[in-house]
């Protein structure tokens, strides 16, 4: 009798795993829809809209489905599965977009261009914020540009490190380094122009007891919830000039930033007139530079340090003495 009850129990539990046929037909169930986005909230009109995001799994595979409309733009679905990942998508060597993240650090990206999955795929986003590594997946996109599309992706859990928890956000962006026009979950920083700082993610716990196996008795729609993080940006930890009064160069400039981001160092005279750019780096966390001051005449100067697109700014005075 006990054998039968265990078998019945196993069969019952196993039935809550849902294997999706990755064929472009939406066979996700209603309780696997984890985000229902307005179909009229894109900054780029009705042909570039996100609609629904679905998520479910079996013991081995994570399935993600996305209903959307796209016309000559890109669909990007960012996943944060673990510690690490990227805070800024603009430096990536694959689908770079003017999007930053606060709170979650996505480490996987599902992307396609203009409804064509052959121009995209799934990649791991390495912590250097630049490089990406292809991840094995099964995918299918049905639909054509300008019409309703359905994207289905199946990713083996083993390929993404058997995460206990996922944070997810989906975006519509234009070409390389462009901003986002629609997002789900909704995020106020998405305006169709300028850099977006995504701080609202959909969180879903996949393995609540941490046993390495996805939970088998949950409805994804019931356990998915929005998580909103406070917005924080890369900021200066240290800016140093050594010496800050110099007769001859070089002057050693040392900069440390809380996170890897762009850095500019500009020089002004004491009346605030721009003289020149001393250094400009696309991505750095620690920056050391020997500044040649031989072309500066005697006087008081102001150096302006700018980190990141949100522009954490520091100003320092420098004196070229005789």
């Amino acid at each position: 009798m006990r054998k039968y009850s265990i078998l019945i129990s196993l069969l019952f539990i196993a039935s809550t795993y849902h294997s999706i046929d990755v064929d472009g037909v939406n066979d996700f169930s209603a309780d696997e829809r984890i985000i229902n986005d307005s179909y009229h909230d894109s900054y780029w009109g009705s042909q570039n809209e996100l609609k629904n995001l679905f998520l479910t799994w079996t013991a081995e595979t994570l399935f993600i489905g996305c209903e959307y409309t796209l016309n000559n733009n890109a669909l990007l679905i960012f996943l944060d599965t673990e510690d690490g990942g990227i805070s800024n998508a603009n430096g990536l060597n694959w689908y770079p977009r003017d999007v930053q993240f606060s709170g979650a650090l996505p480490d996987y990206l599902i992307a396609l261009w203009n409804c064509d999955l052959s121009l995209g795929g799934v990649r791991k986003l390495n912590s250097d914020g630049i490089t990406t590594t292809p991840v094995s997946f099964l995918g299918y996109n049905s639909g054509v540009p300008g019409n309703e599309n359905f994207l289905e992706i199946g990713i083996p859990f083993s390929s993404i490190g058997n995460p206990e928890k996922l944070m997810i956000t989906a975006l519509i962006c234009d070409g390389d380094h462009s901003p986002a026009a629609d997002g789900m979950p909704d995020d106020n920083s998405i305006r169709g122009t300028g850099s977006a700082i995504i701080n609202i993610f959909r969180e879903i716990t996949i393995d609540s007891n941490g046993d390495g196996l996805p939970d088998d008795s949950v409805k994804p729609a019931d356990i998915a919830k929005n998580v909103e993080f406070s917005v924080s940006f890369p900021s200066f930890i240290k800016t140093e000039l050594s010496p800050d009064i110099a007769k001859e160069g070089p002057v050693h400039i040392s900069v440390e930033i809380s996170d890897s981001t762009s850095l500019s160092i500009l020089l002004f005279d004491k009346q605030g007139k721009f003289i020149k750019t001393i250094a400009e780096v696309e991505k750095t966390k620690r920056f050391e530079y020997n500044w040649n001051i031989s072309d500066l005449s005697e006087g008081i100067y102001i150096l302006k340090f700018i980190a990141g697109t949100k522009k954490d700014i520091r100003k320092m005075a420098f004196v070229r003495s005789k």
Partner: protein, 217 residues
């Protein structure tokens, strides 16, 4: 030697630095000594663009010895604790001609230097129009009951303009353009002193707030 633009007070910067054609302005000891006059002491303090460890202060004195107007200006800048630059000028004017002379003091960890500096100029007033010329600036001013307008240049490449409007005897406002950079200021006057607050705007480095207090002797 030629003296370079040295003064920075709330009134001067609020007027877009265009003051050399205007009469009875204490800061003219640094701009056009023919424009000094009256009696008083002005003390100014500010932190340029909010840059840490960079402080500026200026003191201007104006008085008469018998009927001869005299002025004195002291400007001090301290940068990164170890660098101090001071400019001291003493000047006077006779009718429409003015002259000021003094020294520039620079102290750094490498050296201490003192250099002589001087400045000359003239100012002519015809009815509501005042013309100013100095080794620093050339300008024209318009003097009205309600205030002043001033337009200047240094080398005919840069333009400086300022307007002062007196709301009443207690309040006046200033606005100016210094090489295209806007500035604003307000002066609150009492019988014995004035408080002046100036704001200059720089798109790259931000706002500077300048505070001056002027005692009327």
């Amino acid at each position: 030697m030629i003296l370079f633009f040295l003064s920075e007070t709330a009134y001067l910067l609020s007027m877009g630095t265009a003051i050399s054609s205007l009469p009875d302005i204490p800061e003219n000891i640094f701009m056009n000594p023919a424009g000094i006059g009256g009696k008083g002491i002005t003390i100014t303090y500010y932190n340029p663009f909010g840059v840490p460890e960079y402080f500026s202060g200026e003191a201007n004195f104006q008085a008469f010895i018998k009927s001869l107007p005299i002025g004195m200006g002291i400007r001090i800048e301290n940068v990164n604790r170890n660098y101090t630059e001071a400019n001291v000028l003493l000047g006077s004017k006779f009718h429409f001609i003015g002259f000021s002379a003094g020294f520039q003091y620079k102290k750094s960890p490498f050296s201490t230097r003192i250099q002589p500096i001087y400045l000359y100029g003239f100012q002519i007033r015809i009815s509501h129009i005042s013309l100013g010329y100095s080794s620093e600036r050339k300008g024209i001013g318009f003097l009205f009951d309600w205030g002043k307008i001033s337009i200047e240049t240094d080398d005919f490449h840069q333009l400086y303009t300022g307007v002062e409007y007196s709301v009443n005897k207690d309040i006046s406002g200033m606005m100016g353009l210094n090489e295209g950079k806007p500035s604003f200021g307000i002066a609150l006057n009492t019988k014995w002193y004035s408080v002046l607050i100036g704001f200059t705007f720089n798109t790259d480095l931000g706002t500077t707030n300048i505070y001056s207090v002027r005692w009327k002797i």
